[in-house]
Amino acid sequence: MGRPAAMTRTRSILPILLTWLLGGCTDLQSAISPAGEQAGRLFSLLQLITWVCGIMYALVLLFLGWSMVRVWRRTGGDDAPIVDPADRGLSRSMLVWAGLIVGGLTLLITASFLADRHLASLRSEEVLRVRVTGHQWWWRIAYRDSTTGRWIETANELHLPAGRTARVELGSSDVIHSFWVPNVAGKLDVIPGRANSLDLTPHRIGWFRGQCAEFCGAQHAHMAFDVKVESPADFALWLAAQASPAALPADPVLARGAAIVTEGACAMCHAVRGTPAAGRPGPDLTHVGSRRSIAAGTLTMSRGALQGWIANPKALKPGTTMPTVPLDGADADAVAAYLESLK
């Protein structure tokens, strides 16, 4: 009676183990859960190459295993070494093997070339232009406002309309970074002195995540950004909201926060459109409260997180260029409340 029970247990442990190992993955930032045209094409290429390579590996295992089983079966015999035996059969097999390799490689090189050509052919002229600039360690993102023609800045959160191609024009303000949203497309390096551009055609609505993929210094690990793929209508609404300047707060606490942010030290580096704050080195804060995370994907957006970040940025992100601005408790509360209100 114990045996079937044990078998059931094994049967139930295996899926649990597999779920634990793989199911933990959230598919937020995954090349094998494509949500875009480019990533989809690359995923099918990956599947083809995996199949071909898998078959080749199986053949090697078979041959190796067979050669070992043959020894096991062989009985007795002379142990004297053999010099230059006639290997006619093996020589012929080697030609077949070489043929298989050449055939497999031809298939894969062709498939790779066709995939690349397909990706290139997707580049139409009718695109949404997005400027992305890599900074140590965050992303400046700018959209063109179709009504005014001005560039609207935001940071660390990329919004894309589903079903439309967005052309991301990549620039770097310091060192080499790499722009990568694996669910939508492959990566492209962000190189100072070079104008690279990458097309993204997402088709699945939802939240995704991108991350810098080229080592760029101390906080390379915390240089991520959120990606929201939304319907064209939602995107238009979002863009219009982003284009508007920050609302002037009426609440006295928020007004106090606004005064500190827009007239104090924060304004040296940050801009809040519609206020005197017009600093350029740091991320634009005009609608920071509408974003999903802060400090380039380091913390989930909340008033507490904002407060913690402002109180001691170097503890959360050692090496960050954001300085600690001394604020007393009430001021810190007011600043966090104001920033959170910037929807």
Partner: protein, 637 residues
């Protein structure tokens, strides 16, 4: 026809040879030796110590990544750890250890008494040791390079890396590359000119072919990296603008030059492994290798193709697509020679009578892992697909499968295989199998999950990740695997250490090998061989069962090696070999002083050249060759 020596004469002759080739006693002998076996042993001991340190760094990094959001290592420590781990393994372990094996093995496999340039071999070790200290002493002092094993500008340029961390990295490379060039020139000259009579190119064992090709590749590839690191230092020290876009420079120039070296580097590490695997498979299958010609051609073609692939490290930088497609085809083409090699080895096992002793187990482990690394290499060779794979954990998995599975496993197999020759004793088989099981199992457990992590979006070189990414479980598995393989490494080293004194005595040819090194006694005497062997087949010890024919005439009274013609190995003349000398060490110290000084001031290059010139003058000061004993000995005045 000469008469065979009587036993007494033979003893006398050996004593005279011993006297001629012996090093001075004590510390002076240690510092002045030019014995290729002692020099190689130093390399190996240094390499094992470095592998231990690099392994500890790896374990530390794996602990940091075992769970999300850990704070065992901060970003600075983590970045230093992977930089030090990568730089040590690539520049101070993988390439030098292959050269060390060659310095030890090439003269023995050639039936010779020494290298072509014995003092150059000593010099290359001292300079290599300088490179080791250049990286590790600053680490102790807290100025560790922290930008990875390829330090791309502008991150490594003067603007973003103040201090001396990047200079230390760049100059460490210059050290090891000068050392590697010295060793490679020596190996090439030895293989081409010191082959025993009768060992034509057609009868040359594959290991020698592999070392010849790897050394030639070193000679062609390394100048590129020396150039690029020197340009980086000039940018940092004297404000040239090679890599500064604002000053008309180009950051991609660095990547092109670095990978023009960097890709052949991988094959410089892998090709010697082809030689190890072939030697082991042949001996333990009890038959000559199947497809010797195919293997030689595959090694040669890898040597050529390796120089046309470097752009596959740069598919994500945005180069023209048609160009990328060419590099895709060239990179994938490597699979043909590599696939044929795999076929030849398995075919040899298939048609031989293999005995699965530890060295052959390592070969089986090598085939199982290296083929995975090769196939994941085909995936990354596809220019469009690489955009999803490069700079992720998939790449970390891929190059560990290629470098550990493809080069370290054969190397460990080679150490087990030639251990009895070097020490005169056998290693324990039981502990050998245990070490194999732990390292092989732990390695695959540690690195296979990284393929999946990479596809799930985990970039490399991140010191932490949040729980929300879901990368925790596979990282924990990877950490467990890495720890297991490090335990295996300790078992392996302990086995080698204990067997040195307590192993069963090996005898000259414990495995029944076919090549000339098994003709020498174990361990070989200082002079390696009493007589110069004459080779009549590709497996001399298997075809000449009654003892090898020998050539007499190489001197007993002074250090002499027999020089033969490059292709047919016809004896040409006897060359006087170098005697022990302190000058290689002095020259090494002078060069070290210049390299270290050049980090701080460009004037070090000018003033540092003077002591180097003095040391080289001493080194090459002409000496009239005089025998110390025998009828030609210098008469007392």
């Amino acid at each position: 026809m000469i008469a065979l020596p009587t036993p007494e004469e033979a003893v006398q002759r050996r004593a005279r040879l011993e006297q001629t080739w012996a090093d001075p006693k004590g510390v002076w002998g240690f510092l002045t030796t030019v014995d290729h076996k002692r020099i190689a042993a130093r390399y190996i001991v240094t390499v094992i110590a470095l592998m231990f340190l690099a392994g500890m760094l790896a374990l530390h990094m794996r602990l940091q990544l075992a769970f999300p959001d850990l704070k065992i290592l901060g970003p600075q420590m983590y970045n230093e750890s992977f930089s030090l781990h990568g730089s040590t393994m690539l520049f101070l372990v993988s390439v030098p250890v292959m050269e060390a094996m060659a310095i030890w093995l090439v003269p023995l496999m050639l039936g010779q008494r020494g290298m072509a340039y014995p003092r150059l071999a000593a010099f290359s070790y001292w300079l290599y040791l300088g490179g080791v200290m250049m990286l590790w002493i600053p680490h102790v002092l807290g100025i560790t390079p922290d930008l990875g094993w390829f330090e791309y500008p502008p991150l490594s340029g003067p603007g973003y890396s103040p201090g001396h961390r990047a200079d230390i990295w760049a100059q460490m490379i210059t050290f090891t590359e000068v050392a590697a060039l010295a060793a490679s020139v020596n190996i090439v000259a030895t293989i081409i000119k010191l082959r025993p009579p009768g060992m034509t190119l057609a009868r040359m064992p594959l290991f020698l072919w592999a070392m010849l090709v790897a050394s030639l590749m070193t000679i062609f590839a390394l100048p590129a990296v020396m150039l690029v690191t020197s340009m980086l230092i000039s940018d940092r020290l004297v404000s040239t603008h090679f890599f500064a876009p604002a000053g008309g420079g180009d950051v991609l120039l660095f990547q092109h030059l670095f990978w023009f070296f960097g890709h052949p580097e991988v094959y410089i590490i892998f090709v010697p492994a082809v030689g190890f695997v072939t030697a082991i498979v042949e001996t333990f299958s009890r038959r000559t290798i199947f497809g010797h010609t195919a293997l030689v051609l595959s090694v040669l073609s890898i040597g050529v193709l390796a120089f046309g692939l470097w752009v596959h490290h740069m598919f994500a930088v945005g180069l023209p697509r048609l160009g990328n497609a060419f590099y895709t085809a060239a990179s994938m083409a490597i699979a043909l020679p590599a696939g044929l090699q795999i076929f030849c080895w398995i075919a040899t096992l298939w048609s031989g009578r293999p005995r699965f002793a530890t060295p052959l187990l390592w070969v089986v482990g090598f085939i199982l892992t290296f083929v995975i690394g090769g196939l994941s290499g085909i995936m990354t060779a596809s220019a469009p697909l690489d955009l999803q794979l490069t700079d992720t954990y998939f790449i970390v998995a891929h190059f560990h499968y290629v470098l550990v599975g493809g080069a370290m496993f054969p190397l460990i197999g080679a150490l087990c295989y030639w251990y009895p020759k070097a020490t005169g004793r056998m290693m324990s088989e039981r502990w050998g199998v245990l070490a194999f099981a732990l390292i092989f199992g732990g390695f695959n457990l540690g690195f296979f999950p990284m393929h999946i992590l990479g596809l799930e979006g985990m970039p490399r070189r991140i010191y932490t990740y949040s729980a929300g990414m879901g990368w925790g479980p596979l990282n924990l598995v990877a950490t467990t695997g890495s720890a297991t393989s490090i335990v295996g490494g300790l078992v392996l080293v302990a086995n080698a250490w204990i067997s040195r004194k307590h192993g069963t005595p090996a005898g000259a040819n414990p495995w029944g090998g076919s090549t000339l090194e098994w003709w020498a006694s174990s361990p070989p005497p200082t002079y390696n061989f009493e007589y110069t062997p004459v080779v009549e087949s590709i497996a001399p010890l298997w075809t000449d069962k009654d003892g090898l024919p020998v050539m007499t005439g190489a001197g007993v009274e002074r250090r002499e090696v027999v020089v033969t013609s490059a292709i047919d190995a016809v004896p040409l003349y006897r060359q006087k070999g170098a005697s022990p000398s302190i000058w290689p060490l002095v020259a090494g110290i002078a060069v070290t002083a210049m390299f270290v000084g050049s980090i701080f001031t460009p004037w070090a290059v000018v003033w540092g050249a003077l002591p180097i010139g003095a040391a080289l003058t001493g080194w090459f000061w002409p000496q009239r060759p005089r025998a110390r004993t025998g009828p030609f000995a210098r008469r007392a005045a």
